[in-house]
Symmetry: C2
Subunit: 371 residues, 2 copies
């Protein structure tokens, strides 16, 4: 029987994620499924925990992967930390900050939002002022704003939040595996990421980590977590229990893929992986600027893995992306929200972050733009 699956394109993924996957990761996806209570599978889970701690640079015991995408990871961090009526400050300068605000509100938090312009980093002084003026139970923000390409100064804000006694929640969906992030040193209490960006694994899993003080808050909640699937106390009984207690049927083949992807990062070295992202980013920016294009974000605040470039006047956004996809089999991302039609988002994440991929992309773009 002829199947659509047999005619799928092989696309160079240079959008906001998923990123291009190494053949070494695809290779293990088809390994024989093991039962979710199989002793050998528990070893896979133990290995995953170890690798996650190394790549996430944390000693947190509560470091596991959620069986869902990054959005499920955001949900997991919020639903475990928030009790109805908790005051929460969301510091937002892009689409995903807004999403955090929306999600937290649905969970019954009393949410205030401190907003900053899209395309600029969060201003530390303004945050300090806000934190001094009002007391919050939870403060949340995004490290690497996928919608704008801005890196936020998490390392400066964490200590401020901690000094107020609040819990600090960080979205590391785009940053993890591409730039430095140090939950323990920076005072992060809950952090979530995803498998399909800088970690170089297909989408479907969301690594999360909770500090011991966050876990203490969760264990001592007055109300049960209103989400059985994402309840960290139940998940920890499955990931860490002795004996392990069944919670859900872990997606074994996705675990294999993440396991291998994390092995590859450790083989190369976490710092070397950051350097590769940075190198590919600089090479891309150089190439784009040579073509006369300019970046949205000022140099010091740019993310290496998510590059936002202004669409030149007179150039039709969708037509260019469509031609890249159809004639060159390259995916890049469109602008979101107020940046729709104004920027392209060029991802250099995980296995994609290599000069040869930048070359392929720049050549294609130059042809399309006739530059």
């Amino acid at each position: 029987m002829k199947s659509l699956l047999d005619s799928l394109d092989s696309v160079l993924l240079m959008g906001p994620g998923p990123s291009t996957i190494s053949p070494k990761v695809y290779e293990v996806m088809g390994k024989t499924t093991l039962g979710h209570m199989d002793p050998q599978f528990f070893s896979v889970m133990d290995g995953l925990k170890d690798s996650l701690r190394k790549v996430m640079q944390t000693h947190n015991e509560a470091t596991i992967t959620i069986s869902g995408t990054g959005t499920a990871g955001m949900e997991a961090c919020l639903v475990n930390l928030i009790e109805p009526g908790d005051s929460m400050l969301v510091i937002a300068n892009g689409y995903f900050g807004a999403r955090m605000q929306e999600m937290a509100s649905r969970l019954g938090a009393v949410v205030s939002t401190l907003e900053f312009p899209w395309g600029s980093p969060v201003d530390v002084e303004a945050v300090k002022k806000e934190l001094n003026s009002k007391s919050y139970r939870i403060v949340g923000m995004v490290h690497a704003e996928t919608s704008t390409g801005v890196r936020n100064p998490i390392e400066q804000i964490g200590p401020l939040v901690r000094s107020m006694g609040a819990f600090f929640l960080v979205d590391a969906v785009t940053s993890l595996g591409g730039i430095e992030i140090k939950p323990d040193e920076w005072g992060i209490d809950a952090m979530y990421s995803c498998s399909q960006k800088c970690l170089g694994c297909p989408s479907g899993l969301s690594p999360v980590t909770f500090s011991s003080r966050a876990m203490e808050k969760i264990v001592n909640r007055k109300t049960k977590v209103p989400n059985f699937y994402l309840d960290m106390t139940l998940l920890m009984k499955y990931w860490n229990g002795s004996p392990r207690v069944y919670h859900h049927t872990a997606p074994a083949n996705m675990y294999y893929a993440l396991y291998r992807a994390l092995e590859l990062i450790q083989e190369e070295g976490v710092q070397a992986v950051y350097q590769r992202h940075l190198d590919a980013h600089r090479y891309l920016v150089e190439g784009l600027e040579k073509m006369g294009l300019s970046m949205l974000v000022e140099a010091p605040h740019r993310l290496p893995m998510l590059n936002t470039v202004k669409i030149p006047e007179g150039v039709e956004d969708a037509a260019v992306r469509k031609e890249l996809r159809s004639s060159y089999k390259i995916e890049i991302g469109a602008g979101l929200g107020s940046l729709a039609g104004k920027i392209w988002r060029i991802g250099l994440m995980g296995h994609t972050a290599r000069r040869e991929n930048v070359d392929i992309f720049l050549k294609a773009l130059a042809r399309i733009l006739r530059r």
Copy 2:
């Protein structure tokens, strides 16, 4: 580098799921990931929707897959249907009915439970009596109780629930793809399943379907769904929208696997697949009884895909399962709750449901039990 992944056993999965996967499904798991907003990927999603409707035997427009396991599917159905204070009746005769009760309570439903003994089917007359005595907004139950091997008479209860004007929620985690289930004819308003049992795909996805009256309730909720990740109105904008609206980064490779697994079922024919499950089941029961073992559930109520057999006196439960796993690379399931140590749960699901697998298992068990 030597990796644990290179030394994983290939296990014949005859537990309560995951089931053994066809090589044809593994094959497509490593296909190149496509972006979640790629037009070709949208075609994969459209194909998935069509196949799901066929295999789920429904015309419901709201038929999609949740990006999480069966437990996430249960969560999705409950969190969308329940508004705080809604009265819900959970009809329970096993572990998963109890889980439904727990989850619904966490979501703010006022839950009553009508309990029946583990190992027997739900009694229709008792349900009728309960529904006549009290009014409920939602009634939920499990079709195929994975913990006991009992098939519940959903087809008789659906019309009763509908006649009371309540919404009928059904857990088809173990039944879908193995025995007949007809949501439209049987008056089911919300139904969830999983990828890793009779559908023959690795774990990680949960097909769900909602009737138009259920979707109407959801769209007209007074409060937003307190779960952004599983909000059906947002998910439908991604699955069905024109244009499609980004919600989460769909796990592309898992979608490929489910797509192929559903193709295989349709190639064989849904009725033929049911027949294969039934045939393997009868063959297994015959073999077990020849060995002097007896089944927990009475013949008319047995599930073909989940066979509960009593552990003979003097036989040590864990030792037998351990030897099956280590010497024969066969997984079977242990009893849950009050049935722990008393029964084994032998799965014949999806690709596992074949006489040759039954032969392998019976031979191994006979050797271990010296029968």
